[in-house]
């Protein structure tokens, strides 16, 4: 992988029931301004739709914005990604996540939870690093049809 041509591919989306999208829009714009390839969706995506889009768009990182408890179904997303053979994709969550539930997300495989007050510089720098790792992991073990790895 050539460092100068590496462009992280990031999916910024919201799953579940809530539509507060100020954060996801700002993060998507910040990632785009930082030189990433951003795939952005409106809120209310199903988990299946996120998995499909991640595969089709060959993303390195998925950023889930959750302001109103939708983070509670992120463990389902993690399982669905593994089932689809997309376990190398790094998933981060941003928004309102209580301490005690952050632990559950990390245990489920979420790489990091960004809380209110995180700066765009912090977020984009971390995402770029995660994307690099994910891309390397993905190249080591390409996705097999049927999702087996």
């Amino acid at each position: 992988m050539n460092d100068t041509t590496f462009r992280p591919r990031v999916l910024v989306t919201k799953i579940g029931l809530d539509g507060h999208d100020r954060g996801s829009r700002i993060v998507a714009a910040a990632c785009r301004d930082a030189g990433m390839e951003v795939i952005y969706t409106p809120p209310w995506q199903s988990i299946a739709a996120v998995v499909k889009l991640s595969l089709e768009e060959d993303v390195d990182v998925i950023g889930i914005s959750s302001l109103a408890t939708d983070h509670l179904i992120v463990p389902r997303l993690m399982q669905a990604l593994r089932d689809a053979g997309l376990g190398h994709i790094t998933v981060v969550v941003g928004g309102i996540v209580p301490d005690n539930e952050e632990r559950d997300l990390l245990d489920a495989g979420v790489r990091e939870v960004f809380h209110p007050g995180s700066t765009m510089d912090e977020i984009t720098a971390r995402l770029a690093g995660y994307a690099r790792e994910a891309r390397a992991a993905g190249e080591l073990s390409p996705v097999e049809p049927g999702g087996a790895r």
Binding site: L17, G19, D21, R32, Y40, R76, G117, D121
Partner: protein
Amino acid sequence: MNKPLAPAIVADPAADAEARWQHDYQADIGTDRPLHNVSGIPVAPLYGPADWAAYGQSEPLGYPGQPDYTRGIYATMHRGRTWTQRQLIGLGTPADYNARLRGIMARGATAVSLIPCNSVYRGFDMTSVEPELLGTCGVVVNNADHMARCLEGVDVGEISCAMNDPSPFTLLAFMLVAAERRGIDWKKISGTSNQSDYISHFVANHMFYRLALPGARRVLLDHIVWCQQNVPRWNPMSVVGQHMQQAGATPAEAMAFTLSTAVQNAEDCMRRGMDPDQFLPRFTFFFDISLSFFEEIAKFRAGRRIWARLARERLGAKDPKSWRFKFHGQTSGVDLTRQQPLNNIARVTAQAMAGIFGGLQSLHTDSYDEVFSTPSESAARIAVATQNILREEAHLTDVIDPLGGSFYVEAMTDRMEEKILAVMAEVDAAGGMFRAVESGLVQRMIGASAMRFQERIESGDQVIVGVNAYRADDDATTRPVVERPDVAAMRRHLDEFVAWKGERSPGAVDAALDGLSRAAGDEHGNVFGAVVDAARAGLTNEEICGRLRRDLGVGEPLAVV
């Protein structure tokens, strides 16, 4: 005869005094950083009579309760009746809600609210969503029986109930059916359909996409017409600026978009043949109160007098009740921080003061822990106590419009008025609010403002205590451990619902669905009347929303970055 005291000060000519102040100010300040408020209006270091002249001299500041209502919509304002303390409640099952409702009523509340689960907002029943999410943001109400359980032991003819109930207003339908079963006269029922403003939802993407824009527009008008005839004390139209400001609109933009929405809805009603004095007295407004203290006060004072003029001159209303800008304010959650969360109590206090000085009629103060979850009981009590302290101990309500006549506040009210009118002119040029949101114009303006605000924070231009300045080690013990609704109780609620659905007669369900379709397909039919009939016949939230989505079109969000 005694000599007058301090003749030197009195004798000093004003012009000379001003020049000397200018000189001393420039000499002492060094580099004077130009300041702007969030709406982009320059903020001078000092205001005097000349700054107020533009408005103040040509049209003297009037009196409360008299047009143009700059100083308040009622003669007595908060000195007479303060404001309604309306805290949001709703979590878990209907039984959970009922227990909390009775608790706050036992402590004297007469105005209540009902916040449904996000699954309800989205037009689903609990059988269609991940069980982890049920009841985590509001109460799970899927049919009239659930609503009856929510309101058990509560005389709905005696309280005022604000329900977060977007189009097609299934929650109000469930409540009316529950009231009817108990023999409560609908004419006695009062309250507000919060979130009836489909435009704000479409713009700010907040809670729902049940119906496509044209269908949502039609159902709102049916709702206004039907309520006027059947539930005359109900406020069917709450015009919402809060979503748009939370989504990033500046205070001036939020006020402008809200007033443009009100004009859109009013003109739609008039095209239906309604007289503005029939429906405008039942229009209410709902705003965000941010921490930009003087800007918010000016926003409300300016909005109030713009509305009075719009209602009278543009909409042709003759009844002063139609000119009065009645509004509910909610302190801004976006301003609260996760870092050092107890600091949020100070933020909410300042926000609440801005709303009170702005002349609000109803107030929700956020709990300091709303950056973690829906409020805990103890934090919600502090939020209510904040209002009581401001009123009873700080005496903020003793004098009407106490900041009226402040050179700064009056000048900023004028500047905000200009800014609001300029944004409204942009919306008008785009064909009115409906067209301006359909095309994404308003969404793009809000997105740009959200980005500008974020840049102000990241550059340190806007200091946020504990976030980009005055940081301190975070004390994790001040962060609440969030508890979710009891899983077993929610499971029982779900099982009972599934069993109940299975016992219904399929013929009756189909007949009720046909009734909805008939109303939707007949331009003279009233869709909301059909929703009430469907609720009475035992249809669920998802069945009603699903059928109307099929017949009136599904709303799809715009993706605007």
